[in-house]
Symmetry: C2
Subunit: 423 residues, 2 copies
């Protein structure tokens, strides 16, 4: 069913009923926030052991005093834990500080100033530099490109990854130097790049000899179901296709341990890693090795990471189920929206009636629920259909979340009814 099946009177009474509900919600003086993918306090509590680590023993496995300067690549023991997760040999993994976003930033800056292995010249002296942006996608990725004047070329993001035909067309332009991807449980749709799509991207002939895939595997182990989705081995696929320097792989513990005090990782070809370190070494003498040791002691090994993630799942999965269940109960009867049911990651992506997303966000705001701005998941903040809304269910308590999604559903119905009546 859709609202078009209703008479104008029926739509008007739906609007009246939902507007009354909205007014009642406004009265409650809510102050809820669904904007960002922040872990909840309960999730952070899982890692409170970190607050007193590493303890008296401050030496790493090789006997290095982690308190002092040095060690640009990061501690071997923490790189050993994440290398198999990233599917990169440990020698080709660099461990950094608390933000993989910073590693992405620095890769762009170094490329603009110096070019990357395979570049004919620094990216910054080219007439224009473009990046392919599958959308909906991650707003901070797009913000980085805008900050450095890199033009965004939007391609559709399907359930199995980016639309390969659109990517193939785009890379015919030699100024297209790279693309973003969140391969597993993408932000915000939860889609997973299939092995087949990954293989096609790895094999693509690109006009730019120095084309890069920024493979931001932020949610590699962030499953919401029993299904442990395995990320495609992009480094292996690219190497097999003769493009070993193509992938630049990012990961972090931000949504594993403490969001603000974790460890981030970069994995790539040996040449790319040598290039990165040669520039990184001008910026810093080394990362916070004590924090890396703290993490290695706490996580212990890959199994330790998976065990911790099971703890996160126990907290998160019911929240995601609640979101989907409320949306289903409230919106399915009217056919005014569709939403993802992700198997992992941090977001539910909601598509409302075309042209109403901005109005929905305005209505939720009036009722005290902050949502990510409409269009945020698109390059330049421009959702051409004004329909996509990103829901971040992790931070609020279950009760708060239920109220917030109720507000959202009410707002979706109001905006949809308003549109029909205005039409």
């Amino acid at each position: 069913m859709s609202l078009d099946d209703l008479s104008r009177d029926q739509v008007q009474s739906l609007l009246d009923e939902q507007t009354a509900a909205h007014s009642a919600l406004k009265q409650r003086g809510l102050k809820l926030d669904l904007t960002r993918g922040k872990p909840s306090p309960e999730q952070l509590d899982l890692s409170n052991e970190l607050l007193t680590l590493p303890g008296d023993d401050f030496r790493d496995a090789g006997g290095v005093d982690t308190r002092n300067y040095g060690g640009l690549t990061g501690l071997t023991e923490i790189r050993e834990i994440f290398a198999p997760i990233m599917q990169v040999p440990v020698e080709q993994v660099v461990a950094g500080d608390n933000a993989s976003l910073a590693m992405m930033h620095d890769n762009l800056v170094f490329a603009l100033f110096h070019g990357v292995p395979g570049s004919e010249q620094p990216w910054g002296v080219e007439e224009s530099v473009k990046f392919i942006c599958p959308a909906p996608g991650y707003d901070r990725h797009f913000a980085l490109l805008e900050e450095y004047g890199i033009e965004m070329v939007t391609v559709p993001l399907n359930d199995d990854g980016p639309d390969v035909d659109a990517v193939r067309e785009a890379v015919k332009d030699p100024s297209v130097k790279g693309m973003w991807l969140v391969p597993t449980y993408s932000n915000p749709t939860g889609s997973v790049v299939s092995e087949a799509v990954a293989a096609e991207l790895a094999a693509l002939e690109t006009a730019a000899p120095d084309f890069r895939i920024f493979w931001d595997n932020a949610y590699a182990v962030h499953h919401l179901t029993e299904q442990q989705t395995k990320t495609a081995d992009i480094l292996g696929l690219c190497s097999a296709s003769g493009h070993p320097d193509r992938p630049v792989i990012f990961a972090s513990t931000s949504k594993i341990t403490f969001a603000g005090s974790g460890v981030c990782f970069l994995g790539s070809s040996a040449d790319n890693i040598a290039w990165y370190l040669s520039h990184l070494g001008k910026r810093t003498i080394g990362p916070d090795k004590v924090n890396q040791l703290r993490h290695a002691r706490y996580l212990k090994d890959v199994d330790g990471v998976h065990a911790l993630m099971a703890g996160h799942r126990d907290i998160l999965a019911p929240k995601f189920e609640a979101v989907v269940s409320i949306l289903h109960d409230r919106l399915a009867p009217y056919g005014v929206a569709s939403w993802t049911e992700p198997k992992g990651g941090y977001f539910v992506s909601l598509d409302v009636v075309d042209g109403t997303a901005s109005r929905v966000i305005e209505l939720t705001r009036e009722a005290g629920v902050a949502m990510t701005p409409a269009g945020a998941a698109f390059p330049y903040g421009d959702d051409p259909r004004d329909r996509n809304i990103r829901i971040a269910p992790s931070y609020p308590s279950p009760d708060e979340l239920a109220v917030a999604i109720d507000v959202l559903a009410t707002s979706v119905l109001i905006a949809a009814a308003e549109q029909v009546l205005a039409g």
Copy 2:
């Protein structure tokens, strides 16, 4: 006296005697390192309390959960401790991660791409960008400029700071956008920028409207004597001269707590800080707040910092005294060198006979003592007189240090004698 007062035979027997000593030292198979200003394990031990902090209470004074994302400016309580040391209002101090070098790097990158407040255009689109480099100076400062193609204009560093006449001349060139300074206990000479010189630099009319002083106060509280040298108030002086945006002040706890796991700080005008944060916010969601809380709990307040620094002085001062004493005993009789006797900081700067520094370093290396390469303290690694050698006494044990300086003195005498005999 100098070697010129000796007969050739006397110089030859000095050379023979020192060469025999050098051979004996080589036999010992030494492996000593005087290259970098690294704190010793004993100094790091002073802050071992950090290894189990912050403990269960992870909230800052304002109740913020430090474990989660956010807080781009850093925790108020750690900024409050360092604001008076930096002589900047706490609102104009940003606390970051473990490397002030990284903050310097990012300031340059942001300036190149976007310009700074007062710029007519991004620095990077100017035909050329130049920085004034007082020399001898800090090699990592110079390396940053080289990395980004910023031309270095060398000016002499005197005991009271840079030669102001040379600086005044240099800033007539509009492409001169800034200058480096280590105001207190400079690296490597230990010189201190006097209040008078600071006032002249603050008041200078510069051709560039967006001229910046990168004021790297790395050793603000790193006294080696009872004398607590006070750094000139560069922000106040610049504001009073109508150039409030000129100074960009850096500091860190790298040589206060743990060298690799400390907190760094940026202080400047309100406009510069807003500019910095607007770009930093694209690179990261925030610094490691747990580590900042850890530091605030451990240091407590400014007095806590000074008390800790007294502990460092107890360890460091005897090492500096030993260096000066051995150099005096071994070299003064021949008048072949001069050296600084710094009242703070991390280095002794040794000037040997012109044209022999490279040879001295070669000789120490043969005897198993690694020194910073000759010329390292000069832009482009080029010491025009090939005479300056930087000594970093902090890391080795007192016994190791005594042997290393003995090797160094022996090498200085050999190189000087060789030069006389070749002349």
